[in-house]
């Protein structure tokens, strides 16, 4: 019995300690003392400082630090990041940019990506960017720029790491809303092309696709369906589906691609040149890229529309949408003086 005494004492001590822990007075239990307005619709409640902004946060009134600004996270089109001193190129983002409502931090990260990319200049020249207020930082940048001490620190020259991979948001998933723009990468660009970066055609801040000669595409609401309504291949022909790049004669007629020249449905009469629209497989080796991306830089399209479509078909599909005051006709007028003709970009395919 006696030999049990020490262990018994130990157990007793343990129980006492545990009960002391349990009996700790704690100020507010979850259930008791609910605030006067919890659960009510609140008639006489104080002004609630936490309101849902449903959009951009306003930076705190006086002198927020860069870290704070990053935390508050402006929308792409807002001034917080796009000031002349810090990120001047953002001032060129059009208001209609489809990424206009996306915040900078959604792609560039809240802290890591921003500081890693810029730290080599900012720490060297400005002593860090997480310390100090944004206003101080801008002032220092201004001063350094005036004194011409920013050698090597031109943001435009920096080899910035990629922001978020576009496909994280834009890869096609069954789970994603159908209204959200999404692609299957292998179908979006043809297989035989060298792997292309998204940014070759889509500027991240204004992602409407840009092609080759950097001209904005004419915006045709009906897109590929409009072209395919005449040009879609319906008959099966035994040939390579790829249609060679169309050559256009000076007067706008189309040279029949070799593969199609002997097809039964081809209208003969002009030899190698034909007015029948070439019919193609909708995929055409180019997936879901817009037809007019490659086939119609504005001048040639006008020529084609004028000479082939408008001439050949009176109740032309174009006419349903493209009446006198719309885009295409305007462009005809605008560019009538310019040199017409389609420059064959050799490496277009």
């Amino acid at each position: 019995m006696r030999s049990l005494l020490p262990s018994g004492l130990a157990v007793l001590a343990l129980c006492l300690v545990l009960s002391w822990l349990q009996a700790l007075p704690v100020q507010a239990e979850p259930g008791d003392n609910p605030g006067p307005d919890q659960g009510d619709l609140g008639e006489d409640r104080p002004d609630n400082p936490i309101t849902d902004n449903s959009g951009a946060d306003n930076p705190s009134a006086d002198n927020p630090s860069i870290a704070e600004l990053m935390g508050q996270a402006a929308l792409l089109n807002e001034e917080t990041c796009a000031s002349a001193e810090c990120h001047p190129m953002l001032n060129e983002v059009p208001a209609t940019s489809r990424h206009g409502k996306v915040r900078c931090v959604s792609c560039h990260g809240q802290r890591g990506a921003h500081t890693e990319a810029c730290v080599q200049c900012h720490e060297k020249v400005l002593g860090g960017i997480d310390t100090g207020s944004a206003e101080e930082l801008r002032e220092r940048m201004r001063q350094l720029r005036e004194d011409d001490q920013l050698d090597g620190c031109d943001v435009a020259q920096l080899d910035l790491p990629d922001a978020l991979d576009c496909l994280v948001c834009h890869r096609k998933l069954q789970a994603r809303p159908t209204t959200f723009p999404q692609i299957v990468p292998d179908e979006h660009i043809p297989q035989d092309q060298a792997k292309r970066e998204c940014v070759e055609c889509h500027r991240p801040h204004d992602p409407k696709p840009q092609m080759g000669h950097d001209m904005p595409l004419p915006y045709c609401r009906r897109g590929r369906d409009c072209c395919l309504s005449c040009h879609e291949k319906i008959a099966e022909i035994e040939s390579d589906d790829r249609v060679a790049r169309p050559e256009t004669s000076p007067d706008g007629m189309r040279r029949v691609p070799d593969q199609l020249r002997d097809a039964e449905w081809m209208v003969s009469g002009f030899g190698d040149w034909v007015l029948q629209p070439p019919l193609v497989d909708p995929d055409h080796g180019h997936g879901t890229v817009e037809c007019i991306a490659c086939h119609a830089p504005p001048p040639a399209f006008q020529e084609l529309a004028k000479r082939v479509h408008n001439w050949e078909h009176e109740s032309v599909r174009c006419g349903k949408c493209h009446t006198g005051s719309n885009l295409i006709d305007q462009q005809v007028q605008l560019q009538g003086e310019h040199d017409q003709g389609h420059d064959d970009d050799a490496d277009h395919h």
Binding site: R2, S3, P6, L21, Q22, L24, P25, V26, Q27, A28, P30, G35, P36, D37, Q38, G39, L41, G42, R45, P46, N48, P49, I50, T51, D52, N53, S54, D57, S60, A67, E68, G71, Q72, A73, K101, V102, R103, V105, S106, C107, G109, Q110, R111, G112, T115, V119, L164, D165, L167, V168, C169, R171, K172, L173, Q174, A175, R176, P177, F180, V184
Partner: protein, 308 residues
Amino acid sequence: MNRPQLLTRRKMLGSLAKLLALGAAASTVSACGGTMAGLTLDDLLQKHYLDMDDEQLAALVARLEAAILERWGKPVTMATTPAKPGVRLAMTLNLSACIGCGQCAQGCFEENNQARDPEIKWITMLRSHHMKIWNLHDTETYTLPPTGEDDGNYYLPVACQQCDDPPCVRACPVKATWKEPDGITVVDYSWCIGCRYCMAACPYDARKFNWAPPDIPANELNPKQHYLGNRPRPYGVVEKCTFCVQRTREGHDTACVTVCPVGARRCADMNDPTTEVYAIVRGVKTIQLREDVGTEPRFYYYFSDGTT
């Protein structure tokens, strides 16, 4: 009766005295050079967070800020901002807008100083084969944004639901976790003993455990911290979503609300008629996870395109 006794009263008292002396010596030594790794006398004598007055809180926070400065070489500000009276936070998620990109999880990760290795993400993506029937037993957690082939799965981000009747609070044996007046269930990382009962109690698997000491690189450490929120957590404690207490109590949105590229999330006072959360909770058919368990979650999922 004449058996030699192994432990006499004298021996026991002697051993106890030696032990006490040793303990006193050790604590004196460590009190002089207290670090995050070791416990100081102040740490041992710390009162419960809710029992401390402002002065004690300020001293506590100053001590922790100094420890972080020593460990990471980066000055931080640690707040102890209390809840604003009359506010009751809730979060809504529009599943019609959500594209499953996982940036909420990543933004939360960066904002809240979560462990890198082994990685902790407060927001978990659940993956299921079914769109409408979310049997939580049939889902798997998937913490990366979907980058592979479309496997026909559906995704749901889940984090702490900030329940109004939280089983985790009930389960905690030491009252290290409690529900604040503004609705956020918080954890005092200095009080938590790491028993993980709360993790067992949570029906949403929302709580995460620190299997290692904090390993955040200094340039990624978010210096704007709250004692109950995103301060670096010591080895062996439990953590979870805190509705970005360091942000919401200063009037900003949570990190997940901010980084979502499609604006699917909202976190605001559900009693304030001017907020979208108020309108959604009262006007739209919302879905809550595991309603049958009776935890009264304050995270509302809904479809804005008419899917029910």
